[in-house]
């Protein structure tokens, strides 16, 4: 593995036809770190990955590996490995030859190519399929070949472009664990693009949340999960209840908000709202409970989710709430909904 301390993206910008697909991404990746780029489609995460790989030239900015500038090099000289969304396995080459391809391009001695290819095949547990063509493999097996092909070179950086999005739900969970296991075993620095927050939270050491080409927040999974900096990140992190409110009282970090139609909540302020400000109160469904005292609402939809039930309810003035319940309410029932004050986050009204 090439020795380096950190990989630095410095104001990386990419324009398409006058529009910023990626507007100034600055990020320092430490060696061995697992970074997830997270955001909805069109947020610029795949653009960022392609810029890193060298498949897209930058409009502005630079990429550095310690003191070596990388963004002026063609992809074949960057020494990064990439796993593509559609796997991009060479259909005319067997699994073994696919995996050996990169090693052969480096003109390594024959027995080293064989040894490292064998090792990689064993690593992704495809020994029985080594002679098959990619077309004869299942989706999960193809994905494992794609990963093996990228990691066999022990690249300084592995780039993964939504590698699990073409797999079914069960396989996706298995491969997620597999990727995490590989990262723990090999310790390869990884940048992983996904639109699935759960995937990003479970895999990454640090997450970068992107929206419209801009970085919204960079942080550890815990930071993003517990303290999203704005309503967009909150939305992405599973705060399904985003209620427009007005601040009625401020007490340090603790604020009380209301919607002027009977709903009143107290929560923790993100930023420094003043009394009378328009804000958004963000609450996760799992932090809203059916209680004895609180807001009355009418149950509309109930979904069974194993240990709990996901409930959609509507208050008298038409606000839709998502919550979890342990006992099954029937649609049409009236329930009272309460929220723990320290689980409510109050964001500035994020129209910006």
């Amino acid at each position: 593995m090439s020795d380096f301390a950190e990989l630095r993206l410095d104001g990386v910008r990419r324009r398409f036809g006058g529009r910023d697909a990626l507007a100034g991404l600055s990020l320092t990746i430490r060696r061995g770190e697992f970074i997830a780029l997270l955001g909805p489609s069109g947020c610029g995460k795949s653009t960022a990955l392609n810029c890193l790989a060298g498949l897209l030239p930058l409009s502005e900015g630079s990429i550095w590996q310690d003191d070596a500038r990388l963004d002026t090099l063609p992809p074949e000289r960057r020494g990064f490995g990439m796993v593509f969304q559609n796997y991009a396995l060479f259909p005319h080459l067997s699994v073994r030859k696919n995996i050996a391809f990169g090693l052969q391009m480096r003109r390594l001695p024959r027995d080293e190519v064989r040894r490292r290819t064998d090792e990689a095949i064993r690593l992704v547990r495809l020994e029985e399929h080594a002679r098959k063509l990619p077309g004869q493999l299942s989706g999960g097996q193809q994905q494992r070949v794609a990963i093996a092909r990228a990691v066999v070179l022990e690249p300084s950086l592995v780039l993964m472009d939504e590698p699990l999005s073409n797999l079914d739900a069960k396989l996706r969970l298995e491969m997620r664990t597999e990727i995490r296991r590989l990262h723990q075993t090999l310790g390869l620095t990884t940048v992983y693009v996904t639109h699935d927050q759960e995937e990003a939270l479970s895999l990454a050491d640090r997450l970068v949340v992107l929206r419209d080409g801009h970085v919204e927040q960079i942080g550890t999974p815990q930071e993003l999960h517990n303290r999203p900096v704005n309503r967009h990140v909150a939305d992405f992190m599973g705060y399904r209840n985003l209620l427009p409110m007005t601040v009625t009282a401020v007490d340090g970090e603790r604020v009380t908000v209301g919607n002027g139609a009977g709903i009143s909540l107290s929560g923790i302020a993100v930023g420094a709202p003043a009394e009378g400000d328009a804000v958004i109160a963000g609450i996760r469904p799992e932090d809203l409970h059916v209680g004895t005292a609180g807001l009355p609402a009418t149950v509309e939809v109930v979904e069974y989710q194993g240990r709990e039930l996901a409930v959609e309810a509507r208050t008298a003035d038409g606000v839709v709430l998502h919550l979890r319940a342990v006992t099954r309410p029937e649609p049409g029932d009236t329930i009272t909904v309460t929220a723990a004050p320290d689980r409510v986050l109050v964001f500035p009204d994020g129209t910006s």
Binding site: G81, P91, A150
Partner: protein, 303 residues
């Protein structure tokens, strides 16, 4: 609610009949092909069989007399080599020249449609117009020779028409658009991320082409070669118009024409036509045989 007995409705007889046919792999809609098949039989299969039959009934020399006559006469026999000598290199050049041009023209770029149109226009010209153009342009008093002479590059005009070169050029001009269009569509059927993947694995541009694109394109090249070869092998108008039909470009179709319509030896004409067909079949068979050794599965693209 009281449970009702499940109704057992017998399937309608008509449906059952169709299903029975389907089980034997017979689709009755195939009956719609009957008129077309009748046309093919009457207009193609019958004359073809008649021609083959005729080739075995020469006026003298027994069943194989016409074939023996063809191969015994060096003047006739050599037309086979002459034709192969024109058609094989022309087809090869058409395919070889199309690959780099089509390769550069994959993907989308401004002016692609215009460029494609320019490259494909010779299809619409027809061999006679092409031949006339060649005579005017490359002839002894044509622009090309006059330009070279006035630049002082040559003393005497180059002989580029009424010989092998003229016919060869005409075959390239008329055959290239076919080869180019076919190869362009084969290339756009190859997933462009494959080359990008190869790039991230350290392959330089030439290695990406050589190791990834070319092997995936090869079956398409073989098919394209066969088609342009067959087109070139039946060369007739340009061999006469820009060639030397009595000498170095006396191709096999001229021999067949001569036998059938100037000597009125129909069996010999038919025999030459059959020999032509067999020669084409051998070349196509060899190429397709080699093609079957290649990877011919999915190439991951939109094609």
């Amino acid at each position: 609610m009281t449970p009702r007995p499940i109704e057992t409705v017998p399937p309608p007889a008509r449906l059952a009949w169709r299903h029975r046919l389907a089980e034997r792999g017979i689709d009755r809609h195939l009956a719609l092909l009957v008129p077309a098949m009748a046309c093919v039989l009457a207009l193609f299969v019958y004359p073809f069989a008649y021609g083959i039959g005729l080739s075995f009934q020469p006026e003298q020399g027994g069943v194989f007399g016409a074939y023996r006559a063809f191969f015994a006469d060096a003047y006739q026999r050599d037309t086979l080599g002459t034709t192969l000598g024109l058609a094989l290199p022309a087809a090869l050049l058409n395919v070889a020249a199309s690959v780099p041009i089509a390769y550069r023209m994959r993907g989308r770029f401004r002016g692609k449609r215009l460029l494609t149109t320019i490259l494909v226009v010779p299809i619409t010209l027809g061999t006679v117009l092409t031949a006339e153009g060649l005579l005017n342009y490359l002839g002894p008093a044509g622009w090309f020779n006059r330009a070279l002479t006035s630049l002082g590059l040559i003393d005497a005009p180059l002989r580029l028409t009424n010989n092998y070169t003229g016919v060869f050029l005409s075959l390239v001009i008329t055959g290239f658009p076919f080869a180019f269009l076919l190869i362009l569509s084969y290339l756009s059927g190859i997933d462009p991320t494959l080359e990008r993947a190869a790039a991230t694995l350290g392959a330089r541009p030439w290695q990406r082409f050589r190791r990834i694109t070319l092997p995936l394109l090869a079956p398409g090249l073989a098919t394209t070669f066969c088609l342009t070869f067959v087109l070139a092998f039946s060369v007739f108008p340009s061999a006469i118009l820009v060639g030397d039909p009595a000498g170095e470009t006396r191709v096999i179709s001229i021999a067949a024409y001569h036998a059938a319509w100037e000597v009125y030896d129909y069996p010999l004409g038919s025999a030459i036509a059959v020999i032509m067909g067999v020669a084409e079949l051998v070349v196509v068979g060899v190429v397709l045989g080699l093609r079957s050794l290649l990877y011919t599965g999915s190439t991951g693209g939109k094609g």
